[in-house]
């Protein structure tokens, strides 16, 4: 029923995260029915992003300049927060709780995924520890792979004498003790601190 151009567009949209063929058809239909208002601006934005967005050669983040605006900002604190992906970096930036710089690993140590220490790009991270960095924060997932990567990085960073910290793990804001899983409870209990 559909022309090859529409079929191709649906197939491309359906491959995006969170979308399937049905939602892809709805999106394509909306784009085509609002050509001026949605399709052409989207095309322009995609073309601009494809042309200008680059991976930062310092931190591995995404921006339209290299080094990225975070790495190039002199007001940033001399700290490096190590994250798994750009999505994690964006989450921390959204929260506005951290004003240092980042280092995006692009993945974790994973036996199943076939990612070994050599795939983490640790050399690029170590090259940034020039003495001006005061602290390295390991903001990695609380998973077996995430924490294995954190332990590995701790070991590699230790000789540099820089302060290494990890994100706290435990009861989330708004979380009731009753509904927490046993793993989170165990971590929260082991990481308890003195009430002041």
């Amino acid at each position: 029923m559909m022309g090859p151009e529409i079929e191709s567009l649906v197939a491309q949209v359906a491959r995006l995260p969170g979308l399937g063929p049905r939602s892809a058809r709805r999106i394509v239909l909306r784009l085509l029915s609002e050509r001026e208002g949605r399709l052409l601006p989207l095309m322009g934005a995609l073309a601009a992003a494809a042309q200008r967005v680059v991976v930062c050669s310092v931190c591995g983040g995404l921006d339209s300049v290299d080094p990225c605006s975070v790495c190039g900002d002199p007001a940033r604190e001399p700290m490096i927060c190590i994250v798994e992906s750009v999505a994690d970096q964006w989450a921390l930036e959204r929260a506005s709780v951290y004003r240092g710089r980042y280092h995006v690993l692009g993945g974790l140590l994973s036996a199943i995924g076939g990612r070994g220490p050599e795939d983490l790009g640790v050399g690029r991270l170590l090259a940034r520890l020039d003495g001006s960095v005061r602290e390295v924060i390991l903001a990695l997932p609380a998973t077996v792979d995430g924490q294995s990567t954190a332990h590995y990085l701790t070991e590699r960073l230790a000789p540099f004498g820089v302060r290494i910290t990890r994100l706290a793990q435990g009861v989330p804001v708004g979380g009731s003790i009753e509904i927490l899983d046993e793993g989170t409870l165990a971590m929260a209990m082991s990481a308890r601190r003195l009430a002041e």
């Binding site: 924490q147 070991e155 899983d181």
Partner: protein
């Protein structure tokens, strides 16, 4: 087709956006593959971590299908190990060795019980590493490559067993080893007696079981020892040499 059983999660691979392809180990059904729907989701991720003991249920229309796994957390071994580099390395090595060495859908109750014991004590400092060595000895026995530490293969004596033949897997006493000692594998005292399971003894134990796992259990499948197991040995060696901080 369906079964419900306590199971230990051995391996997880992402499947799609929120699902995981899992291998679990049960007492009655052995190593079993299945799809854990939502295993990588915010709700499922705390349960679907390697090493966790879960109350698992597997359902499929036909027995030969991959089927769907669901689970409820019973013992959060992964969370208990996460803050300790050594415990986490032991957990990953044990799961990787079991996932790679055990045949699919063949019951190995002793392997399950050994791994369950290991995971139960994963958070106890100093206990996990010797427990892993004991588990690997048990696993080799379960797979038909049992090591024999009952008596010296040369003299027949039962005392002062200090080495193991890398060819036969039988113990050799210190006196019988003589000039051949350097060619033999060291037998750590905690495997045959009440000796302390310190780091050097555990390293000897890992070298011993690693040799036979690589040659027999994995060698028979033309596969190398899992990278997690190799990384554990390297970590123990670095700790002995004082190259890393404790933690």
């Amino acid at each position: 087709m369906e079964w419900s059983d306590p199971a230990i999660i051995l391996s997880l691979a992402p499947y799609g956006e929120g699902d995981q392809r899992a291998i679990v180990l049960t007492e009655a059904n052995g190593a079993w593959h299945g799809l854990a729907r939502g295993g990588a989701s915010r709700r499922g991720a705390p349960v679907w971590q390697e090493g966790n003991l879960i109350a698992a249920r597997w359902v499929a229309r036909l027995p030969e299908q991959l089927g769907t796994l669901t689970g409820e957390l019973v013992h959060p071994a992964a969370a208990l190990a996460m803050n300790d580099a050594m415990a986490l390395a032991v957990l990953r090595a044990a799961c990787a060795v079991a996932a790679g060495a055990l045949p699919e859908r063949a019951a190995h109750p002793a392997a399950f019980l050994g791994l369950a014991r290991l995971m139960a004590g994963i958070g106890i400092a100093g206990a996990a590493l010797p427990a892993l060595v004991r588990f690997e000895v048990e696993l080799l026995r379960e797979l038909g490559y049992g090591l024999d530490f009952t008596a010296c293969a040369v003299s027949g004596v039962r005392e002062d067993l200090a080495y193991v033949s890398p060819r036969t897997g039988r113990a050799v006493s210190r006196a019988a080893a003589g000039v051949w000692a350097e060619r033999l594998l060291r037998l750590p005292g905690f495997l045959v007696g009440d000796d302390a399971a310190d780091l050097p003894a555990c390293r000897d134990g890992l070298a011993l079981t690693g040799h036979f796992l690589a040659r027999d259990a994995f060698g028979a499948r033309h596969a190398p020892l899992p990278s997690a197991r190799v990384a554990l040995y390297d970590l123990v060696t670095r700790r002995i040499n004082g190259e890393t901080h404790a933690g």
